[in-house]
Amino acid sequence: MPVPDIDLGIGSGSHAEQTGKIMIAFEKVCEAHRPDLVIVVGDVNSTMACTITAKKLGIRVAHVEAGLRSRDMSMPEEINRLCTDVLCDYLFTTDRIADRNLEQEGVPAEKIFFVGNVMIDTLLKHRALAAQLDLLGRYGLQPGGYATLTLHRPSNVDDPTILQGILEALAEIANDLPIVFPIHPRTRKMAEQFGLSRYFTSGPRVEGSGSPSRSATWSFCT
């Protein structure tokens, strides 16, 4: 991926802290460059923060991956999605269910554009390249001979009883099939805090190819 021309350099923090910092920094960028259109993607804090900032400056905003709804207001992402979609001028959707969600919320049909899924396009485009990395060979895995796990959601990892239950189920699966687990920092921190690290066997540390956010410690659950 090319290096961005402007890096807001926000980093992590609480939701409000992060959202506030993004809005302050992005407002300066918008005032300096006066864009005709701001394009936001997904459902993260910057999606919502940049939408609100741009819209208040009278700049039109387009949302890629609009209309997704879990109807679960305990998810911060759901709040980001709702705030973003209600403000945006152009809503690009990935499926017809999303179109209908937006229509039901009163979004005029002329704002909704069913365009397909950029994440899937990216996946398909980079499949061959990913195959060349020979990650399986590097970790001694066979095609079809392992499972992959990602786990990071607060509802799953922030409660010791829930996390332990999940890890026990996973340990049973791992008896039959090795589980490759690129562990999220939050999950690692929580597991350590609850004394549940025994469920992981540390695997080799790998750096993702290029993107730092993809690099992670891979562990094998036993």
């Binding site: 459902d43 997704l68 709804r69 879990s70 109807r71 679960d72 992402e77 759901e78 999605r81 990935t94 499926d95 017809r96 269910i97 209908r100 969600n101 069913f114 365009v115 397909g116 899924n117 994440m119 899937i120 396009d121 996946l123 398909l124 499949r127 990913a130 195959a131 399986l136 895995l141 095609p143 079809g144 001979g145 392992y146 499972a147 992959t148 796990l149 990602t150 786990l151 990071h152 959601r153 509802s155 799953n156 829930i162 239950g165 999940i166 026990e168 189920a169 996973l170 049973e172 699966i173 039959d176 099939l177 589980i179 490759v180």
Partner: protein
């Protein structure tokens, strides 16, 4: 890409496994991507250990269960008719090229929850006959006097042409009608 099974609580992986045809067990009670349950490989199980294992066992045993919205706990946040979803997925570049071969790999039971829309041609004959009889009963007291009016009153004599012309239109449009999707109108009219 070569995993036998993916377990996740993230969003994007639910879509990616659907496209790659990898069974996906989602450790959440809901999803903002219900399409992955409806036409894809995704199963929602929440965070109950028993539910996770119940979903994983058939996959570990090599019986790939990758069909339909098999949700445990709460259900998908939305639904859509299979046809529309398939049309939507088709729009994603290159999608069908991946989906179709994968789709045919499933030879056990229903490969997906893609229910074909019901048409006149596929409508159960018994139901159709019942509908015709019901219409007959409803109009039994109206039609004979009406036909007598056509016969006796020359102001209404053109009435005999109405069934003929209607029949002709029906005949002309039959190929379209036969394959048009039937939809339900609960209050009795569209």
């Amino acid at each position: 890409m070569h995993a036998k099974l993916v377990l996740t609580d993230s969003g994007g992986l639910q879509e990616e496994t659907t496209v790659l045809g990898i069974p996906c067990i989602t450790l959440r009670n809901n999803t903002e991507r219900p399409v992955t349950c409806e036409v894809g490989t995704n199963i929602l199980v929440g965070n109950d250990p028993a539910a996770i294992l119940a979903a994983a066992r058939p996959i570990l045993a090599g019986r790939r269960s990758a069909a339909g919205c098999r949700t445990v706990g709460r259900t998908c946040s939305g639904t859509d008719r299979g046809g529309t979803v398939a049309a939507g997925l088709k729009k994603q570049s290159g999608f069908l090229g991946v989906l179709v071969p994968w789709w045919h790999k499933f030879d056990e039971g229903q490969p997906m929850s893609l229910t074909p829309e019901r048409t006149l041609a596929t409508f159960p004959l018994g139901h159709l006959l019942l509908a015709i009889v019901a219409i007959g009963v409803a109009y039994a007291t109206i039609v004979p006097p009406m036909v007598m009016d056509w016969y006796h009153d020359e102001n209404y004599s053109h009435g005999f042409l109405v069934p003929l012309i209607s029949g002709y239109f029906l005949y002309e449009k039959w190929p379209e009608l036969k394959t048009a999707a039937c939809s339900r109108a609960t209050p009795g009219w569209p």
